[in-house]
Amino acid sequence: MASLNAAAADTATFGGAALQVSGLRKSYTGQTVVDGVDFTVPAATCFGLLGPNGAGKTTTLRCCLGLTPADAGTIRLAGHVLPEQAEVARTRVGVVPQLDNLDPDFSSRENLLVYGRYFGISDAVLRARIPDLLDFAGLSGKEGANIQSLSGGMKRRLTLARALINDPDIVFLDEPTTGLDPQARHLIWDRLKRLIAHGKTLILTTHFMDEAERLCDRLAILDHGRLIAEGAPRELIARHIEPQVVEIFGDAATTWARRRQGLGERLETAGDTAFFYCRDAAPLLGALAGTLTLRYVHRAASLEDVFLKLTGRDLRD
């Protein structure tokens, strides 16, 4: 672990990276949860941490906030060494947790006011900031609303507004749109894009590949506590998977597909669906045109295909 002097020197030269993690390890009662993770998040970018349930995402995030002591490794957040300087580092950080933990006894406005006080910000400054934040969250007119009366999407937006009360440089978001309807998700995405445009660094975990593809400049896929892939979304797709996918559905789809395995570079089956991954899908599409019973979809390879290829199709719960 780096000394405090090294940390001070690092603060001066901090410049590029909002978060630097190297050699991070953490185990609980003999079970390794994070097994040597390294990544760097440059300032003013959006970084996505993906992985199946139990991959070690939440533990990694907790270590990065100085809430869980790591067994080994170094973490620098906003130029400060963790966990020693976690409290200073967190003055520059906002957090949107996975589960809403808004204060049910307070109105929207009071939630922001009380939370801002934890950062040592004066009431006068907070009162000036709150209307703008509520406006940003699309909650103008809901200042006095009871938390229980807000919809799931509104609560999520209020949690986002709360995470911005200290005007942070870095915002951590743990599954920011889980459980929201499509309208609410799109609204959150729009606000997150605005934050990125304003130069904030976002670090998010998600199970939605479209979300990761849409928002993130860089992604890391975590599985069994290790980073198994890292890069820009397009780059990961290009590097790990054939560009075209043909999904074939129906009773006879998998049997049909197995007999014609050679028509694609790779064939995967799940239930009664066959997935052909191809560099050139034309021969396969030609063969499919000859059948009347099989339904199929021809599409470009996506991040979800990469994710499933790298982490497998088995359930992880």
Binding site: L67, T68, P69, E87, P97, N101, D103, V114, R117, Y118
Partner: protein
């Protein structure tokens, strides 16, 4: 990285926003909360004091209701601090995840716990003082010495808040608190001299009672309420301070093990 088991709270006022958060919630329900704190103990005190008291000769040289008044003040203080540090703190820690939200800010767990400790003691101060006022209005308190009960109430609140936070840190659910009440609070209430003098008790029980924080609070509050200077003030204060201090350190270590693993 070593796991800090015992960590002394750092000096400073950064815990104050946590206290203010709880105060803001309380303010919304202040009236029913004060009435709730007053009604139950007063009913017992007046019912037992005047009802049972009529059957009794003077207890330690005073009317039974005067004897009972001091016990009622400290017992209510204990109850109020205990309830706040068990049920309310547990709700904030485990159910509402309020502490998790605070831990994402620059505040540490010790700030949260200090805020909770002082808050529970403040609430119990209010409960104790409310009864002191009624006792005074009934002419059962000897001013001005009785006013020294106010700091005794606060210190009693700190001691029981610290003990309560230990139990809160260990509790898997609300049901767990029943053990603490049945095995600790209720027996202590009966052998600490709240309802009757401890010299009525068998020797062994008296020895146990001498170690209980409530007994020390009673031995400070009762003479003060009767207008006398208590004996062995330093000893009683030391016990209450020790319980508050050591209790808080254990609460801090146990809560850290629970939340920051």
């Amino acid at each position: 990285m070593s796991h800090r088991w015992i960590a002394l709270p750092r000096p400073g006022w950064r815990w104050l926003p946590v206290w203010r958060r709880n105060f803001l919630v309380w303010r919304k329900l202040a009236i029913p909360s004060i009435l709730g704190n007053l009604a139950d103990p007063l009913i017992y005190m007046l019912g037992l004091g005047y009802g049972l008291g009529r059957l009794l000769p003077a207890v330690q040289g005073v009317d039974y209701v005067r004897f009972l008044a001091a016990g009622t003040i400290v017992a209510s203080t204990m109850n109020s601090a205990t309830f706040e540090a068990l049920y309310s703190a547990f709700s904030r820690m485990h159910v509402q995840k309020t502490w998790d939200a605070i831990l994402n800010t620059p505040l540490s767990l010790d700030h949260v716990l200090t805020g909770e400790l002082v808050w529970a003691a403040s609430k119990s101060l209010l409960a104790g003082v409310a009864i002191l006022l009624v006792v005074g209005a009934l002419g059962l308190a000897a001013a001005p010495l009785a006013l020294w009960i106010v700091p005794v109430i606060f210190l009693t609140g700190l001691a029981f808040a610290a003990l309560g936070l230990i139990v809160c840190a260990l509790a898997p659910s609300y049901d767990f608190f029943m053990y603490y009440f049945t095995l600790f609070i209720t027996p202590m209430l009966l052998i600490s001299g709240v309802f009757f003098p401890t010299d009525q008790l068998p020797g062994v029980v008296q020895t146990i009672a001498a170690w209980l924080p409530l007994a020390h609070a009673v031995q400070l509050a009762r003479p003060l309420l009767l207008g006398q200077v208590p004996e062995n003030i330093a000893g009683h204060l030391a016990v209450l301070l020790l319980v508050a201090g050591v209790g808080f350190c254990f609460a801090s270590g146990l809560t850290r093990r629970r939340l920051l693993k």
